[in-house]
């Protein structure tokens, strides 16, 4: 009677069609899964390197592009190190999409402040594409992003192009200036002041390393954003992706199926959310 349940643990065969070097330790893989996968920004996937293992990533490509998916990956461990050795034509495995992404329909008619740091710019690129695709749905979109140094800045040229869009208010920063950097120097919270929006009704989306998210959230609360309007992407040790293996628990939720996108209101009472 239950035999029609799909096997949730088997990956879909997927071809690497291009490898793009973004920064010295970050690459973007363009992937073509043999079965169609459609996702919403903020959802994640599990990428398998055959014979090595599986690791969770959030796509960085345009959700509307249905045949191709891009994932931007920093070299940090065993699986990512092997991923960085992949070449065009290699076969990998893909599971997903998993979890809950951004509820973009509920952002309609509102002002949206997107705050990103470091590797968090990858999932946010996917969100920005989705916002751009329906930009007239929103009152105004603000983008604030920071990285350690100019050479760590993901998608530098592309984001530079966004700066020219009249429908986007954009500011960038780096922690350490130098080598021709023209914009702000300082952590991302230093470019969050002076935005001419109504904080109390605005939506904020934050994605980045836990420490950056912690301070950005604190700043947003000071500015007057409501707990339930602050969307956070929680990085946990996701494995099964479907609330079974127990690795990603955060309070009474599993980040893999109840998140990874949570509102601050959902998780603020759990202890040590930023650890």
């Amino acid at each position: 009677m239950h035999h029609d349940i799909e096997n949730p643990y088997r990956p879909i065969e997927t071809e690497v069609i291009e490898v793009i070097t973004e920064t010295p330790n970050i690459k973007t893989l363009r992937l073509r899964p043999k079965e169609r996968i459609s996702f919403v920004a903020g959802q994640f996937i599990e990428l398998t390197v055959p014979g090595v293992g599986e690791a969770p990533f959030t796509p960085s490509s345009r959700p509307a592009e249905k045949d191709i998916m891009e994932v931007t990956i920093m070299k940090v461990g065993k699986v990512t190190e092997r991923i960085h050795q992949l070449n065009k034509g290699d076969i990998v495995g893909l599971r997903g999409p998993l979890g809950k992404g951004y509820p973009i329909d509920s952002f309609k008619g509102k002002e949206i402040l997107v705050v990103g740091g470091g590797c968090g710019l990858a999932p946010l690129r996917s969100l920005m594409y989705e916002l751009f695709d329906r930009i007239t749905d929103f009152k105004r979109v603000y983008y604030r992003a920071g990285c350690k140094t100019a050479k760590d800045f993901l998608y530098k040229e592309e984001i530079g192009g966004w700066a020219k869009r009249p429908d986007l208010d954009l500011r960038l920063t780096v922690d350490e200036g130098g080598s021709g950097w023209q914009e702000n120097v300082g952590v991302v919270t230093t470019i969050m002041d002076g935005i001419q929006m109504d904080y109390a009704s605005g939506i904020a989306v934050v994605c980045g390393p836990p420490i950056a998210m912690k301070f950005a959230t604190k700043k947003l609360l000071e500015l007057g954003f409501k707990d339930e309007n602050i969307y956070l992407s929680m990085e946990k040790n996701m494995s099964c992706g479907i609330g079974k293996c127990g690795h990603c628990r955060i309070g009474t939720y599993y980040a893999c199926k109840d998140g990874p996108v949570f509102t601050y209101a959902q998780i603020k009472n759990f202890p040590n959310i930023w650890d």
Partner: protein, 343 residues
Amino acid sequence: MAQKYITYNNLLTLLDELGKDYEVYTPVKKGEQRFYRKYAEPADDIVIGEVRPFEPLKAFFSPAREKVADGFKPDIPHSENKPFAIVGVKACDIKGLKVQDHVFVDHDYQDPFYIKMRSQNLIISADCTCSIDTCFCLALGTKPFPQEEFDINLSKVDDGFVAESGSEKGDELIARCSRLFTETGEYVLSKKETQRRRVTREVEENIKKNDVPAQERLGGVIDKNYESDMWKDEAKTCVECGACNTVCPTCHCFLLYDQKNEERMARFRMWDSCMVKDFARVAGGANPRPRLWERLRNRFEKKFDFFPKTADMYACTGCGRCISACPAKIDIRKVLKRLANAS
């Protein structure tokens, strides 16, 4: 379904009968411990009754190591094994199965491997006929005799058992093998009840002697004691072996593990332990619970905070296995007592 009586010898004939369709397991006694063993023929060490075996029942439903994907093929890796008929299952392990069911079946996503085992396996449970010092099932609301989720339950009376069916599968089995059963009379039924009362009393005395709080006193205790020093104190002797997780009938966490062969993708899942340092560590290195006492607290938080809040039950059966298994002598009853008594 009316209750029937079956003699011990007829039960053994029933097990032979079951052997055609199932791999049959019964508890056997070695020294002071009981273990499940594959049933082949009558043997003196078979014990149907007494108390729970060493291994938790979950081993029959999600094995310690299991293949969950074979290449990119969409189908469920197939096993040639017959389903299990597990005989002598205890009430506490049935409570454990309810927790496992919540995780793998009654949830947003379903696990086809578990569900297959669950629908194919047969459970012939049995009343406890005694208790051991570590038994405290009643404190968690479980009586020492199965009341649900069995196909047939056996209550030992004299040289046989009162057999009660609890499912369609059980009804069919009793109907098919009706020659092995006789009617029950008032005498055996009242002996069954007397025994249930006696064992219940024994467990009550255990609980009193060890001062184990009843589950009614456990509401909110994790929140209340989250910052308490007791966690450091309790974790002092822990050696991070994970035995507590392995023997626990409710622990369900697992690790997905790929075979190290780049030519051939094969994925396994293995039981995992939240007491181990890297359990929640992310690839970038951040670890929400780097210290052992935080992981001990997390184990209790999962069982006594997460499960009651998300599944309306405590993920503890009172089987006491973790007490016997822990080389550091960390005693869940004592931890619960400290939690309930702190205010």
